[in-house]
């Protein structure tokens, strides 16, 4: 249900003739024939044709059961129903005026449909135009450039650009880093956010206070907290000082070692947990409490209740949160760039770095084929996600 429910009353009612069932007056014998003839004459649109076919059946049955009809007609149709049918059903003669009227109505119907379509397209136009100009058209252009030798030299080089991109060491390591980051941080973000939501939802006092505190990091621009992260995680930073004092560990250069991704992951989680948690809180509140209650009466413990009931109700939200986190994990370049600049440590070199550095080198054909490869990969990932969601949803609901 929603805005989109269309009204089905578009078909003009007047063209249908109601035949009063069961009343066998001799004067009415002709009616079906005239009506059928009229319809055959006026049936131009396919809709009217199909209706005419449906309507054409009763007369045939009527003729074959001519003698018996009178006997059981009254027994089949209740008397109360009889009174509901008015005696003066208007009958339309096949006159030119009538035909003109039908034509006019059809035209009006068409015009109304066109107007509806016009209005809705009109509402969409600004967005459609902009999206066409700024996204779809350039993407097609991109596709074209990816097969050219260079933007100025329009020689067709086939898949050579793709070959170059896919064998480019920087591209491979960048995509590997981006994927590893997404594969580790997205599940972590989902699970931790779910845990936090369950914790807040388990009847803790001051739930709303915690919620707004945890939402706070979402509002803070990354650029503002980068400084703090540097204070904590740089070589001479605070964390290293603490570990040196407490456990007398050696200093680790967090941002230039294999731990670099962990630091970025912390920043990512810090920023995204609040948003995900609010989504999960809403979903947890939407679970019908009767089901949980009856389950606990039947002796299901909290763990069983979580896996058997809550998880099923949460599954659409889990998918949504997963998709949002995935998008955000691809945006992680922002944090990495702000923390470490154009050329970070090897395992922080993200796809966006690759693109940025290729921009400065003006290697457009490589850039466009790289973008196309990413686009295809993204479509595949999203397709898998949506497909599995629909599969899973149909399993869960009902």
């Amino acid at each position: 249900m929603g805005l989109s429910d269309k009204d089905n009353s578009s078909f003009p009612k007047e063209t249908e003739t109601r035949v009063r069932p069961g009343s066998q007056l001799p004067s009415e014998e002709k009616k079906p024939e005239t009506a059928a003839a009229k319809r055959a004459a006026g049936s131009a649109a396919s809709k009217t044709k199909s209706k005419a076919k449906v309507k054409a059946k009763p007369p045939k049955a009527h003729k074959s059961a001519d003698e018996t009809a009178g006997k059981y007609a009254m027994s089949v149709i209740p008397k109360a129903y009889e009174t509901l049918i008015p005696d003066d059903i208007p009958e339309f003669e096949d006159t030119p005026e009538r035909r003109a009227l039908v034509e006019k109505r059809k035209k009006g119907h068409f015009r109304r449909k066109l107007r509806d379509w016009g209005i809705f397209t009109g509402y969409l136009t600004p967005s459609l135009l902009g999206v066409m100009v700024f996204f779809f058209l350039p993407l097609i252009l991109l596709l074209k450039t990816s097969f050219q030798k260079s933007p100025t030299n329009a020689d067709f080089v086939g898949f050579r650009n793709y070959e170059r991109v896919l064998t480019n060491a920087a591209f491979i390591s960048a995509s590997k880093n981006t994927l590893t980051f997404a594969l580790i941080s997205v599940p972590l973000a989902v699970v931790l956010a779910l845990f936090l939501a369950m914790l807040l939802n388990s009847g803790l006092p001051g739930k709303s206070v915690f919620r707004s505190i945890l939402l706070n990091p979402m509002m803070v621009p990354v650029a503002s907290v980068v400084l703090i992260w540097q204070v904590f995680f740089s070589y001479n930073g605070v964390i290293n000082g603490w570990t040196a004092q407490l456990f007398s560990w050696d200093k680790i250069d967090w941002l230039k070692s294999q731990y670099a991704q962990i630091v970025i992951m912390l920043l990512f989680l810090w920023k995204n947990l609040g948003y995900n948690m609010v989504l999960f809180l809403a979903a947890l509140n939407a679970i019908p409490s009767e089901i949980l209650e009856s389950a606990s009466l039947d002796g299901a413990g909290p763990v069983k209740r979580f896996f058997a009931i809550k998880l099923h109700y949460l599954s659409p939200t889990i998918f949504f949160v997963g998709i949002m986190s995935l998008i955000n994990s691809f945006k992680i370049f922002r944090e990495v760039y702000l923390l470490t600049g154009d050329y970070p440590f090897d395992n922080l070199y993200m796809l966006q770095h690759f693109m940025n550095n290729k921009f400065t080198q003006l290697d457009y054909s490589l850039l466009s084929s790289g973008a196309i490869v990413m686009c295809i990969a993204m479509i595949i990932i999203v397709g898998i996600l949506f497909y599995s969601e629909s599969k899973f949803d149909s399993d869960v609901e009902e």
Binding site: F135, G206, L214, N216, P221, S224, N236, F333
Partner: protein
């Protein structure tokens, strides 16, 4: 079979026929077998047992709640530390900051890390400054026009994008929500895919079209693609589809035009979502780094977010104040519209 048994059976059958019930002796229950004294002792014992059980349950619950509170408090503290830290440090004098933190920034990217290893000093994390001054802010706001220009750049870039995208998105999502046809769904799906595309993909097309239109290195190169971004359309459409169709039908019967339905029904009903989305978009674009980096090569035009990352040693004295000022507008918006934000986010997740 002997006669006696037969007689008995016949009698039983007759009785059964006449509905005569014979009393059967029930065995006494455990409770009934007890004497009064025993019964009282039993009750006392039970009372005691249930009291201890209740107490135990209460204790367990308090312990669990305390544990949960502790975990939640720790996490919230961790969430708040960077923000508090920035604000508190922004009131330090710049000498103190240089004393404290110059060690850190010597080991940062600009410097040779091998040189920094010789420094054995570790920085002290100071939450409360030794002397509280607002000197950082005054130097920042009155002595440093570059900073103010960058701040103004951020505003000029963010506000038109947010306003424009919301206007476009309201119209488009109304259309998508009201008129659902198969072809439209395909278009909507392509919008979703476009929304999910990371910057890495969309930035190249943006660059090319900006180049073609000759708006490269101006604000328009960022504003225009931002206005037509499909993120808001996706969420608003989800929201608008929840409007009951009865409202629209009633309005149509009363003779409302399509524009009236849009402005008087659809928009007011989605008010909360629109507020929430505005806040979300504002944060997102206030934060943006990728687009200005690529599309605005002129550093004069770049917003504050890019500039803050490039603050280095000589300016470290005002860096904290700069960060603090930069995070104030979104935090104020958050304080003002938290309810809207929470509700908007919550509704977007539930189908």
């Amino acid at each position: 079979m002997d006669a006696e048994l037969r007689k008995q059976r016949r009698l039983a059958a007759t009785k059964a026929r006449r509905n005569v019930f014979t009393e059967t002796v029930h065995p006494k229950s455990y409770f009934e077998q007890m004497t009064d004294a025993e019964r009282e002792a039993f009750f006392a014992r039970e009372k005691k047992r249930s009291a201890t059980a209740l107490k135990q349950r209460k204790v367990r619950k308090t312990i669990l709640t305390a544990l949960g509170l502790m975990i939640a408090a720790t996490i919230s503290l961790l969430a708040l530390v960077p923000i508090f830290f920035t604000f508190l440090n922004s009131f330090m004098s710049s000498d103190e900051i240089i004393n404290n933190y110059s060690v850190i920034f010597q080991s940062m990217s600009g410097h040779n890390s091998s040189g920094a290893t010789y420094l054995s000093r570790t920085p002290v994390l100071k939450l409360i400054p030794e002397e509280v001054t607002i000197k950082q802010y005054t130097t920042l706001l009155f002595m440093n026009p570059a900073y103010l220009f960058k701040f103004w750049n951020s505003i000029v870039l963010t506000l038109p994008i947010v306003g424009g995208q919301m206007a476009v998105a309201c119209l488009a999502s109304y259309s998508f929500a009201r008129y659902r046809k198969k072809r439209r769904e395909v278009l909507f799906f392509s919008y979703i895919i476009l929304m999910l595309m990371p910057f890495q993909v969309t930035l190249v097309p943006n660059y090319m079209i900006a180049d073609a239109l000759g708006i490269l290195n101006t604000y328009w190169a960022i504003i225009l693609p931002g206005v037509f971004s499909t993120f808001a359309i996706f969420l608003l459409t989800k929201y608008m589809r929840q409007i009951p169709s009865g409202y629209i039908e009633a309005a149509t019967i009363d003779g409302a035009t399509e524009w009236q339905i849009f402005t008087k029904i659809a928009i007011p009903l989605c008010k909360n979502a629109i507020f929430a989305l505005t806040i979300l978009l504002f944060i997102d674009y206030w934060n943006m780094v990728e687009q200005p980096l690529v599309l605005l090569t002129d550093t004069e035009l770049q917003p504050l977010s890019v500039f803050l990352a490039q603050i280095n040693e000589p300016e470290i004295g005002i860096a904290f104040a700069a960060s603090a000022v930069y995070m104030i507008p979104p935090l104020l918006i958050f304080l003002w519209g938290e309810e809207y934000l929470v509700e908007g986010i919550s509704r977007s997740g539930i189908k």
